[in-house]
C-alpha cells in the first residue's frame, strides 16, 4: 500500500456541480499511487483555525501524470463551507492517500457498482480500472434529488449500463437506489458488488449481495477525528477472519470493508460479544 504524504496543495480549481463543489488540487505526492476508495484528510479554516479536525473526502480522481487530485464536496457545516468558498490559489494542508482502496477481482467478471449521492465520487476510477481488466461494469447512481446526483453525465463513459434513480423522481427512475438492484444483479449475473453512500444504503446492498452469495465491498463513512489511525474515534463493529467481532478503525482498516463482515445493525452500539466489551465495566 502507498505510504500517505502530508502536503501543501494548491487549490487549482473550484466549481459548483449540482449540489456539490468539485475541487481540484495540485498534490503530486497524493496522486501517485492512490487507489479508488481511498480518501484525503484536509485541514480547514486556514492557519490558527478554531476547527482542529481534518475533513475526510473520497478521491474522485487522482492522476499521477498531472499530479492533480479531485474531490467532490457537499457543503454541510462550517468546515466544508470554508472549503467550498476557498478561492482558487488557496494552499490547503492535505494528507493522503489514506485508507484501503476497493479490492479489484483477480479475474475479469461482471461488477455492479452502487452509489448514493456524493458516494459516486470513487466509483468512476473504480469502474475504469475494472473495465481495463476486462470486467463488465453496471453502474447504479441514486440520490434524493437530481441536484444531488454526481457524475450522471460521465457515467455512460465508464460503464456498460447506467441506472439512475432519485427519491423524488426528478431525474431517472423514482425510488431508492436499491429498488431495481436485485433484478440487475440477477440479469447481469454479477459476481461482485461495490457500494459507497449512506450507511443504510450500504447495508441494503450488502443484504442483496448476501442473498446472491457474491462478494460486496463497501466504503463506509464514520466520523473521523484524525484520519490516520491514532485516535480511535472512527470505529465500527466488524467480524474478523477468526469469527470474532472487534471495534475496528474505519480510517486505516477501512473505509472499504466486505459488507458481510460489518455488523450493520450494531453500528453505534457496543455489542456485548465484541472483543474487550467485557472489560468495559461501568464505562459503557
Amino acid at each position: 500500500m502507498t505510504v500517505p504524504s502530508q502536503v501543501r496543495a494548491r487549490l487549482v480549481g473550484s466549481e459548483p456541480v449540482g449540489a456539490y463543489h468539485l475541487l481540484t488540487l495540485d498534490a503530486p505526492a497524493v496522486a501517485a499511487g492512490a487507489g479508488p476508495g481511498q480518501f484525503v484528510a484536509v485541514a480547514v479554516g486556514g492557519p490558527g483555525s478554531a476547527m482542529l479536525l481534518r475533513r475526510a473526502f473520497a478521491l474522485y480522481t487522482a492522476d499521477p501524470a498531472t499530479g492533480l487530485v479531485q474531490v467532490v464536496v457537499a457543503e454541510h457545516r462550517p468546515g466544508t463551507a470554508w472549503l467550498v468558498h476557498s478561492p482558487v490559489g488557496t494552499e490547503l494542508d492535505l494528507v493522503g492517500p489514506l485508507g484501503r482502496p476497493f479490492p479489484l477481482p483477480a479475474a475479469a467478471g461482471t461488477a455492479v457498482l452502487v452509489a448514493g449521492g456524493y458516494g459516486s465520487a470513487p466509483m468512476f476510477d473504480l469502474a475504469r480500472r475494472l473495465r481495463e481488466r476486462g470486467s463488465a461494469v453496471h453502474l447504479v447512481l441514486g440520490a434524493a434529488t437530481g441536484e444531488r446526483l454526481f457524475g450522471a453525465d460521465e457515467a455512460p463513459h465508464v460503464a456498460d449500463t447506467v441506472t439512475v434513480t432519485t427519491d423524488d423522481g426528478s431525474t431517472g427512475r423514482r425510488g431508492l437506489v436499491t429498488d431495481g438492484l436485485t433484478a440487475l444483479v440477477e440479469d447481469t449475473a454479477a459476481d461482485v458488488l461495490y457500494a459507497c453512500g449512506p450507511m443504510a444504503m450500504l447495508r441494503a446492498v450488502g443484504e442483496i449481495a448476501a442473498a446472491y452469495a457474491v462478494p460486496c465491498h463497501v466504503a463506509v463513512e464514520e466520523a473521523m477525528a484524525c484520519g490516520i489511525g491514532v485516535c480511535m474515534t472512527c470505529v465500527l463493529p466488524v467480524i474478523g477472519a477468526d469469527g470474532r467481532s472487534r471495534m475496528v478503525r474505519s480510517c486505516t482498516e477501512g473505509p472499504v470493508f466486505e459488507a458481510s463482515r460489518v455488523r450493520w445493525k450494531d453500528v453505534g452500539t457496543l455489542p456485548a460479544d465484541v472483543v474487550g466489551a467485557d472489560a468495559m465495566g461501568g464505562h459503557r
Binding site: 478554531a50 479536525l53 481534518r54 494542508d93 491514532v230 485516535c231 480511535m232 457496543l270 461501568g282
Partner: protein, 313 residues
C-alpha cells in the same frame, strides 16, 4: 541571538535524559507507528503511548468525538489490545527504531496498576511510566483516582514499588486544588507529574436534541484548555519547584510549548494537535528551537520555570 545549532534541546525529565523536550501525548499518537510517514519517532523526546490496560478493551460506542471551538470532546473509553499485545507488537516496534517509550498505564484498581507495572519490568525501550489515574476506581463506585489524594497516592506508591523506571503521575484538572493531589502523588513516590489530562465536558446536538457523544460526557482537549493547563503547571511548580513536570494541554506551536516550559515544565506532550497536523510534535520542536534562538536563550534547561523569577526582560 543564539545560533540554531547551538540551542540545547536536550532536557531531563524525572532523571531521564531526553534529546528533545517535545513528546507525544497519551491516546493521541497510538504507539507511534502511524506517525512514521510524517515524522521520525526517534527524534521525539519520547513517544507517550495510549494508556494500556491488562485486558483487551473495546472502548465505548460511537459517536466518540465532537469538535468544539478550538478543541474537541472525546469519549473513546480506553480502547486497546491489552498489555500482552502491547508488549508483543507495539514496544518492539518503537525499540527497533531506537525511540524512547513513555508507557501510559491505566487500571480500575491498585492491583491492576501494579500488575501492569510488573509486566513492563525489563521491557525494551521503556524510559518512564506515566500512570493515568484519571480512571474510575472500581472499589469506590467509580470515583476517579485522580480526584482523591488518598486513592491517587495509593496507586502511585504501589506502582513505584513494582516499576523499574521512573514514574510520572498524570493529573486531572477537574479538582478543586491540583496542588493537593500533586503533593500527595509526590509524597507517595512519584518521580514527576504529567499535567493535564482532559477536562470533563459535554455537547448537545440541537437537531437530535440529545447529547452528541454516546458516552454523554467526554474529555475536552486542544487549545481551548491551554490556559487551564498553563495555570495548573504554574501552580504546581510554584508549590513544588523541585518536581519535574511533563506539561500538556492545547499545545499547537513552539511558542505554546515555550509557555509550558516557562511555567515550570521540563518537557511537553503534544496531543490533539496531531489530529490537525500529524507532523505537529516534530514541528513544535523545530519552532521551539527557533523561538529559543530568537530570544538568545542557550537551551531548554534555561527556561524551565523562568516565568516564576523576578523581573522580566
Amino acid at each position: 541571538m543564539t545560533s540554531l545549532a547551538q540551542v540545547g534541546m536536550g532536557t531531563t525529565l524525572a532523571g531521564v535524559a531526553l534529546p528533545s523536550p517535545v513528546l507525544t501525548a497519551s491516546g493521541c499518537s497510538a504507539a507511534g507507528r502511524e506517525l512514521a510517514p510524517y515524522l521520525d519517532v526517534a527524534e521525539l523526546g519520547a513517544v507517550v503511548t495510549k494508556s494500556v490496560m491488562l485486558r483487551p478493551r473495546s472502548g465505548r460506542a460511537t459517536p466518540r468525538m465532537a469538535e468544539t471551538p478550538s478543541g474537541m470532546l472525546n469519549s473513546i473509553g480506553l480502547q486497546g489490545p491489552g498489555i500482552e499485545a502491547f508488549l508483543e507488537h507495539d514496544l518492539p516496534w518503537l525499540a527497533a527504531r531506537a525511540a524512547r517509550a513513555v508507557v501510559s498505564i491505566a487500571g480500575g484498581s491498585v492491583e491492576e496498576f501494579v500488575q501492569l507495572a510488573g509486566r513492563l519490568v525489563g521491557a525494551p525501550g521503556v524510559a518512564l511510566l506515566e500512570v493515568n489515574i484519571s480512571c474510575p476506581n472500581v472499589a469506590s463506585r467509580g470515583q476517579v483516582f485522580a480526584c482523591d489524594p488518598r486513592a491517587a497516592a495509593d496507586v502511585i506508591a504501589a506502582v513505584k514499588d513494582a516499576a523499574d523506571v521512573p514514574v510520572l503521575a498524570k493529573l486531572s484538572p477537574d479538582v478543586t486544588d491540583i496542588v493537593t493531589i500533586a503533593a500527595a502523588c509526590v509524597q507517595a513516590g512519584a518521580d514527576g507529574l504529567s499535567m493535564i489530562n482532559t477536562l470533563l465536558g459535554m455537547a448537545i446536538d440541537t437537531d437530535t436534541l440529545r447529547p452528541i457523544l454516546a458516552g454523554i460526557t467526554g474529555g475536552l482537549s486542544g487549545p481551548a484548555i491551554r490556559p487551564v493547563a498553563v495555570r495548573c503547571v504554574w501552580q504546581v511548580h510554584a508549590a513544588l519547584p523541585e518536581v519535574p513536570i511533563l506539561g500538556m494541554g492545547g499545545i499547537m506551536t513552539g511558542l505554546d510549548a515555550l509557555q509550558f516550559l516557562l511555567a515550570g515544565a521540563s518537557a511537553v506532550s503534544v496531543g490533539t494537535a496531531v489530529f490537525h497536523d500529524p507532523s505537529a510534535p516534530a514541528r513544535v520542536a523545530r519552532e521551539l528551537r527557533d523561538a529559543l534562538a530568537d530570544r538568545g536563550i542557550p537551551g531548554v534547561a534555561d527556561v524551565v520555570g523562568l516565568a516564576h523569577r523576578d523581573g522580566r526582560r
